[in-house]
């Protein structure tokens, strides 16, 4: 006979175990490097976008914070990494990535106090405002950022002093994949921890979460700061693998595209951003070959179609297969405590 607390524990730990589909996902990611050796650049792009979307998923999917200005942290990470490499402050890429991401984290921590205040609409405006503010600043201080020309002539040192970036982007791809995987493991650990569960409680009902003793504001500040770190890392990867940082890292389109990426993949299960990144880039490629100049039209159409179909419905379709598999495996154990709603 188990106590309710133990049963809850079993139920909470159950999704934290590695499912074989997850293992297959990462094997497929690694295998794609050998399957499409000529497409390293776009695959690296997908990895960066996936990491960036993962960052948004942390605050949107797990804490329910809607942000229209997530590019702010991406941009800080990108310019941070660019400046570090350009001025030779921190030449080793992994270390530079960390430093740049920490700069974004600092910004995330400071701005989180502004973001946790107010309702959805205020959050939208404040996040959007912060990104626009940074874009204006970057344009203004062109002696540091290079203005509209962006940072040019960035030379990357070999990773860990061993692996030189090559012109086909092979090293860049494996580097990005490694960074993504490590950060993904960290995120996975975090969202399945009691901390992650408390975030979900806050997302579902902040008032009730506060009533059961969760420090809502502190948790939101923590996760927002964490998401800023992830976005900063994605930005740093962007600069390091493209050796370029320009004003458009802060642009509204980047934040807006990011939302589409996450919505395509589905929120609140971490893989959404990664799957969404693949789907988004493939769509973009497809539309670009169809109409080179006007692919945004079709991206917009996809957004509207997704919303009108209903994100939840789409999400259910995406999860049909993994859900079916996990249900047939794990249901009997739960017995006494039947979940009343979908935990995701």
């Amino acid at each position: 006979m188990t106590t309710p607390a133990e049963t809850v524990g079993v139920y909470a730990r159950q999704p934290a175990r590695w499912h074989w589909a997850e293992v297959a996902f990462w094997i497929a990611a690694l295998a794609s490097a050998f399957l499409f050796p000529s497409r390293y650049l776009i695959m690296t792009d997908i990895l960066r976008l996936g990491l960036f979307a993962l960052s948004l998923d942390l605050i949107l999917g797990y804490a329910g914070i809607v942000s229209l200005g997530h590019a702010a942290f991406f941009g800080v990470g990108a310019y941070g990494a660019g400046l570090l490499a350009l001025h030779g402050l921190v030449t080793e890429p992994v270390l530079a990535l960390l430093v740049a991401a920490l700069a974004a984290t600092l910004l995330g921590f400071v701005t989180s106090f502004l973001v946790i205040r107010g309702v959805d609409l205020t959050r939208l405006m404040v996040t959007l405002g912060i990104a626009l503010l940074l874009e204006a600043l970057a344009e203004r201080f062109s002696d540091i950022t290079g203005g509209t020309d962006g940072l040019q002539g960035i030379e990357m040192a070999p990773i860990l002093g061993l692996f030189e970036f090559d012109m086909f982007g092979k090293v860049g791809f494996f580097y990005s994949l490694a960074v993504l995987f490590v950060l993904f493991l960290l995120a996975r650990r975090i969202v399945h921890s009691p901390f992650g569960l408390s975030l979900r409680a806050i997302r579902n009902n902040p008032l009730r979460a506060a009533a059961v003793g969760i420090p809502v504001d502190r948790r939101l500040i923590a996760v927002y700061t964490l998401a800023a770190f992830y976005a900063g890392a994605a930005g740093a990867l962007f600069t390091q693998t493209t050796q370029l940082a320009s004003l458009d890292v802060f642009s509204f389109e980047r934040s807006a595209d990011l939302m589409l990426v996450l919505v395509l993949g589905g929120t609140g299960y971490l893989y959404g951003g990664l799957i969404g990144a693949v789907v988004f880039r493939l769509l973009q490629e497809g539309f670009s070959t169809l109409t080179p100049q006007y692919w945004q039209f079709w991206i917009g159409a996809v957004l509207i179609a997704v919303v009108l179909t209903g994100r939840e419905r789409l999400h259910r379709w995406v999860r049909l297969v993994p859900d079916f598999l996990s249900r047939s495996r794990a249901k009997p154990k739960l017995g006494a405590i039947a979940p009343t709603s979908d935990p995701s």
């Binding site: 959805d120 609409l121 626009l132 503010l133 204006a136 006007y294 509207i304 919303v307």
Partner: protein, 289 residues
Amino acid sequence: MTSLLTNLFDGVAYGMLLFVLACGLAVTLGLMNFVNLAHGAFAMAGGYVCAVLVNQAGWPFFAALPLAFVSSALIGVVLERLLYRHLYSRSHLDQVLFSIGLVFMSVAAVDYIMGSSRIFIRIPAALEGQIDFFGVGIGRYRLMIILICGLLTIALQLVLARTRFGSRLRAAVDDPRAAIGLGINVPQVFALTFAFGCGLAGLGGALSAEILGLDPYFPLKFMIYFLIVVTVGGSSSITGPFLASLLLGIGDVAGKYYVPKLGPFVIYTIMIVILIWRPNGLFGRTAAR
């Protein structure tokens, strides 16, 4: 001194224009609580209709203005009936995604049809140049904008406060369920209001081609300005957004003139500070729903 007054005048004209552009959004976002980031697309539509009529069909400028209003209102009512009304009860995230999608589509569509460069609307010769008013240079076009927008504002205030439609709208916004119970056709009121707001945006778009510039990226470039007007102004009356527009217009013109190095920085900072200080806007009434 005179440059100060000229700047003030320009700022007022700019602010009035922003008000006409954004007051439709004050209703959808402020009153109906629908986050419509695509409001600028309706303004752009009006601007381009006016440009085509004046430049290509040879219509007089003042005859094309009402058509800019009508065409944007028509587009508005069609989209409202087809798409928007399904999303009133959805989450803000859905509304944001939907309206961003609409913005992307409108940008690409206008780019495809009209080309990506900035277009100008030929304005009548009577509106060009400046009048010298006790040493203060006053642009004729801006004077006209102040006149038109001022009249519109007064008319709007009267419609909202004095007419039966105005009271229906206020009732529908305050409590839709009670309003339906009283026999008010709430969806119809919303649709009409939405269309009217879009029409005003279209008119504003046509008027603004001369001052703000009109190109396919108009909805993206000015989205933040419209949002500032509504969120800073609050939604209790149209006085709030009106004052906010004036503040924004004067602040922006003055900022660009006196501290050009800081540019839009000033505006964004002020907006963030105000939103932190008063999340419901400077002239807000109650907690946002």
